[in-house]
Amino acid sequence: MDELLAVLGYKVRSSDMADVAQKLEQLEMAMGTAQDDGISHLACDTIHYNPSDLSGWVDSMLSEFTNPPPPSAADPTAVLHNNSHSAGGNGGGESHKSAVFRDDSEYDLRAIPGVAAYPQADESDKDSCRKRMKTSAGGSSNSAAVSSPSSSSSPPPPIAAAAAPSSALIAEPTRPVVLIDSQEAGVRLVHTLLACAEAVQQDNVKLADALVKHTGLLAASQTGAMRKVATYFAEALARRIYKIYPQDCLDPSYSDTLEMHFYETCPYLKFAHFTANQAILEAFATANRVHVIDFGLKQGMQWPALMQALALRPGGPPAFRLTGIGPPQPNNTDNLQQVGWKLAHLAETIGVEFEFRGFVANSLADLEPEMLDLRPADVEAVAVNSVFELHRLLGRSAGMDKVLSTIKAMKPKIVTVVEQEANHNGPVFVDRFTEALHYYSSLFDSLEGSAASPSSPTTASQDLVMSELYLGRQICNVVACEGGDRVERHETLTQWRARMESAGFDPVHLGSNAYKQASMLLALFAGGDGYRVEENNGALMLGWHTRPLIATSAWQLAR
């Protein structure tokens, strides 16, 4: 890998440099001979993937010229261009059809959640699948090249993770921090919290006790997000010091309720669902029967949008089977079935053949592929979906490995993974604490901005409080719990990538269409300004200003 370019975000092998340069020249020639308008389709219609894979990007641009989507004579949207660059000898009025030029701004406004964009023609669909496969193959062969350390900021993936405990996998070195001006005033508070964490780590109970009380005082003089975050962290520290561990969240309906409010208040879950659904839709594009296995069904909020999109598929919807997995319920209420019924009802109204199965499991590691009534891959395409579920397995050794094998045994067409973009699973308590403090500070800051609907202020503030509680429980778990109780073991995309790749998965890249639609989704639904979607080597991240907070990645079985 060329190290200098790698630092700047471009992965090009030194041995490929001349080849890439030549292709850039070809691309320039091709762009030069097309008119200005003639290349606009490259920006509008073409889906771009993983710009870090420079070679792949240039290839895909070039293929637009050698394999342009065929203009259809009957298509009223085909635009005829006069090539004013045509040599004088051709005579005036010489025109040639360019590729179909869509004004995509109108089109994309229809990609409001509930309707994911479909590639227009099967042709371009296959093309984009090919492109994605091609670039992802490029991506995975990079990791196969492996072990040559590139820049200091990207650690090499492990070759054999069998013996290594998962926490030894790449300690993520980056700690992005966005300070909001109020935090300048809260600097002493942050200082005290960190000092307290340090004291806890050193088992200096007396000092920790004094500091946690002092934190309470300081927090009281703060306002807004800083105050709330500090309060939650102080409480979590107190629990750890006094060993009053939080009641394990054995009431899933309560946490589901909190999550619903979180879903309403801010765009993180919507983004997670939207981007995962986009990847699933694209993977299901040609299938007649599809099966989604949802590792954490909860209230099933992700699925109406997918079902609506399937219903609108050109050529009609596939048969849709959903398997929802959930934890045991306290009163033996069958939450899963209730959700299943609601979705079945929706499916009926929109005309999608629907089948549902619920599975209760204490842990995803209890799942066996035989339980799922899997059908042959040529009959039914499978998607495995995990939104904020996989990290919970990291507390048990071999739990993750088991689940990853089980996923492979399901022979999925696609695996969608959404996780918090943070390392809250490091071995050193103070590091974990500091990471979490910065992470949740950004999250809480973003909530301050986006206190939802102005039409109903009481609902808005209730949503906000519930959302904060939802996050507060996570904070408590990260800070106060250990061992099997500590389930919020978030790790970063870099860490997940290494894990997935060494387990035998290849990345499937999310493209510029998903990016653009996610951005539009944010503009429509996010109350606050400041949410940003970022492309990262084929994955998409949602963050608050420059701090990425959640990451969606997609995977397929390695060849």
């Binding site: 340069a21 850039l24 920006a43 771009h48 300070l179 109020s182 960190l194 340090e198 979607v533 420059t546």
Partner: protein, 347 residues
């Protein structure tokens, strides 16, 4: 035309290392896609393509960074500081103490380039560049400004943001330094490449008018222009990654609608510009790349500064192209670094 193109491609390839050529050509072609003939800009695709780096409070090569957001203005700045000699890596960002009470520590306010339209403080090319400046200038602090870009935000937004950033920097107690308690101040240099250089100039002028002290201006192939077509524009059009046509597009996107390039933002010593005589502008270091098609405007700028009694040092790098400072693989890069180092350390 096609034939010309071929010659052009070969020429630029001859004067820069291959990986530099790949980098800048990639930008060039991607940017061609993003600019629409009607003057609008494909911002979504631009953001998708832009390679970014996060701030990082963990020191890397002795430098750590964090972002600061001013809620009231929405302005984000990225602050780069040398690794603290004291305290563990998990120590909080010190926002209480001055940088030093025994020495002057320069604070370089940096405006990234991108012709007012592209890039951000978080773009990998600029994050990397700013990181270099910290140890280069003896442990200086760098503040990279995420100013609003055109065409969504035209003149004077970028200048307003630059001005707001300067005021913010000047008012941070934790950016002060001095040989003793009495001479504590925030010691600022302004710097920028391309459009950033243009912004640095205009912010310096405003600072001079307001009596705010700036120690120096560093302008790296600053973006200036005018209605006239200069000799260098004609001679170098399209030859080294840049065309007159794209320059025109970016000015049209930045300047108020309907304005000409003789607008004082663009043509700083032109017919409509302010008289800078007697302004006591800070000393300037102006770096001109010999293969930059707008060099005549930059040289005219230098001449204009001299003529109006302002101290300016010109570094003319004969066969440098634009963007030579992105990769440390050529002599111009090292020459530039040396010049910046000397400029900032000279009292």
């Amino acid at each position: 035309m096609a034939g010309d193109n071929e010659v052009n491609l070969n020429e630029s390839k001859r004067v820069v290392p291959l990986n530099t050529w790949v980098l800048i050509s990639n930008f060039k072609l991607a940017y061609n896609l993003l600019r629409r003939p009607d003057g609008s800009f494909n911002r979504d695709l631009a953001e998708f393509l832009d390679r970014k780096l996060p701030a990082n409070t963990n020191p890397v090569d002795g430098v750590f960074s964090f972002d600061h957001l001013d809620r009231s203005t929405g302005l984000l700045n990225r602050v780069y500081r040398p690794e603290s000699q004291l305290g563990p890596p998990t120590a909080p960002i010190d926002l209480e103490n001055p940088l030093s009470t025994t020495a002057v520590v320069p604070v370089i306010v940096f405006f990234h380039g991108g012709s007012f339209t592209h890039s951000s403080a978080g773009s990998a090319i600029y994050d990397t560049f700013c990181r270099r400046l910290v140890p280069l200038c003896g442990g200086a602090v760098v503040v990279s400004v995420n100013y609003r870009r055109s065409p969504e935000n035209r003149y004077p937004c970028a200048y307003d943001d630059g001005w707001a950033a300067l005021k913010w920097v000047k008012s941070r107690p934790w950016l002060r330094s001095g040989k003793d308690r009495n001479s504590s101040d925030v010691h600022v240099y302004l710097a920028g490449d391309s459009s950033g250089g243009n912004i640095a100039h205009h912010v310096a002028v405003k600072a001079a008018e307001a009596g705010i002290s700036i120690l120096g201006n560093i302008l790296l192939h600053p973006m200036f222009g005018g209605e006239a077509r200069t000799e260098s524009e004609k001679r170098l059009d399209g030859k080294y990654f840049v065309t007159v046509q794209d320059r025109d597009w970016y000015w049209r996107a930045f300047l108020p609608e309907g304005e000409s390039r003789d607008h004082p933002a663009c043509n700083v010593f032109g017919p409509r510009s302010k008289n800078l005589e007697g302004m006591k502008l800070p000393k300037s270091l102006v770096v001109v790349a010999g293969l930059d098609l707008i060099q005549d405007w930059q040289l005219a700028y230098v001449e204009g500064m001299e003529r109006t009694g302002n101290q300016v040092k010109l570094i003319f790098l004969q066969d440098a192209t634009i963007g030579f400072y992105f990769l440390p693989n050529n002599q111009h890069f090292h020459c530039l670094m040396e010049e910046i180092k000397n400029f900032v350390s000279a009292a």
